[in-house]
Subunit: 284 residues, 2 copies
């Protein structure tokens, strides 16, 4: 049997890394899927669940001879991990990540010798679920993956990474790292911030009258159950863009607040209609 | 065959009224389900879809001899509709509504002769879908219905209304009208306001980069596709409570904004963790 890849490395065995391993494994894409982590128990669970074929806690062993190395860790630790591993990486290897912020990562890696091997990736899929316990196939399939090569990136590595995401059923879009960060601040990081804030602001009702809470509130706050370690790092790494988008959003909230306060029905109708038409377009 | 009710009237043939009719019809609860509306085409569609057994555009014909009259209209028009109909209503009849605001309705009805027949209801179910075209069974079943009798309400009428909602599979909760309005401002009206504002604030990305938008944004804004006529009236009728809840929410958003701006990781972690724990409790 011939495999598309001889060896793939997944550094970091959480929900995203583990689910990626299962996808590669089930599709029989790689002869070796090497899991790397400092946590041996987690590696054992990952192997048991079919996410990896083999594992190691040694970074040289992890990345050597790999076709692709995926760094699947929280965003703030990705550059440090790259700096630990890049001296063992061969020039044939392409390295990517799955982090939700790209400018911070690319800027931090830029000063290493071998930054041309690295291409940022952001598969726009996920779950409020976390951890190796919840990993599953089909998380990535059908989703969109943004890749962020720039003028420093080896175009051959970008092509390898793009081809990989396409192979597992994702649509790929190329954006500059800073453009990526601006977009996802608005469509992902800001929605998380406001879902967290809404949930916290309704603490008393959630604690005391849980059964009056209907599907509207539950959908709006689904992502408010996301993990604090992952999301605090995303907010930190993309703080500038997140603040900008938050301020634009606050302006809209204040426009609603003012129209409601002044009981300007026509204005409220028009603002809600704008929203409805935009939101309906997302279902098409 | 014996029916639990001889005649039930549904005044207003939209998504909520029509879906209620189908539920009553499929459960064979009433000999006559009389649809009332000014729009004859809508009544014909409702009958064709099995939401009503019979219809009329005459208000006296609609409500006379009814066991229960449901006013299923937008909130601002409910008191006026009650004032049009109450002189034809017999004392055996109980009247209720399905409006999302209760204080405004109950206060407006209070100065009529026969306000004791009226008991406010708010079934906490719904959809961003609208209109008679989208009606369906099982909308109400399994949901929670808040009923808002107060010291002016005939307790026998309250019992009839409570029994009805229980019969179609809803859990009922009694709250005073103003307590209801405060709670739903926080768990329903505010989430709509912020989903509208979020959607409008991301207009450019929705228009130009629709395919990068993932499931998190879509869930958070699902209710942003709700109808402007219904929701502008809810915002108007519950403006005082909605403003209060919006201000509490804005305080939370500003706390996040400030912690992100100052890169206070421990504070961000703690706020997200509070949200996660609260939101996870809603899934249990």
């Amino acid at each position: 049997m011939s495999f598309k890849y001889n060896k793939i490395t997944i550094a970091g065995m959480g929900f995203m890394g583990g689910s990626l391993g299962i996808e590669i494994h089930k599709r029989k894409l790689a002869r070796v899927i090497k899991g790397y982590s400092g946590d041996i128990d987690r590696l054992k669970i990952a192997q048991h669940k079919g996410a990896i074929t083999d594992y190691t806690t040694d970074i040289e062993d992890a990345v050597k001879y790999s076709d692709i190395v995926f760094i699947c860790q929280n965003v703030l630790s990705i550059p440090a991990k790259y700096k630990q591993m890049y001296k063992y990486i061969e020039s044939k290897t392409a390295v990517t990540d799955i982090g939700s912020v790209k400018g911070y990562i690319v800027d931090s890696i830029r000063n290493t010798d071998r930054h041309r091997l690295f291409v940022g990736s952001h598969p726009m899929v996920g779950s409020e679920k976390r951890g190796i316990e919840n990993i599953r196939q089909h998380l990535y399939e059908g989703g969109v993956c943004i890749i962020t090569p720039d003028k420093y990136t080896d175009p051959k590595k970008a092509a390898v990474i793009k081809d990989f995401w396409t192979t597992i059923g994702m649509e790929t879009i190329e954006l500059a790292p800073n453009v990526h960060d601006s977009y996802v601040a608005g469509i992902s990081h800001l929605p998380h911030l406001l879902a967290f804030a809404l949930t916290n602001s309704q603490k008393n009702i959630i604690k005391n009258y849980k059964n009056v809470i209907g599907p509207g509130f539950k959908d709006t706050t689904r992502i408010a159950a996301s993990g604090e370690e992952i999301w605090s790092e995303i907010f930190m790494a993309n703080s500038k863009e997140l603040i900008k988008k938050t301020d634009e959003y606050l302006k809209e909230v204040r426009r609603f607040r003012s129209a409601v306060d002044k009981k300007q029905k026509a204005k409220i109708v028009s603002m809600i209609k704008n929203s409805r038409v935009l939101r309906e377009a997302l279902n098409k």
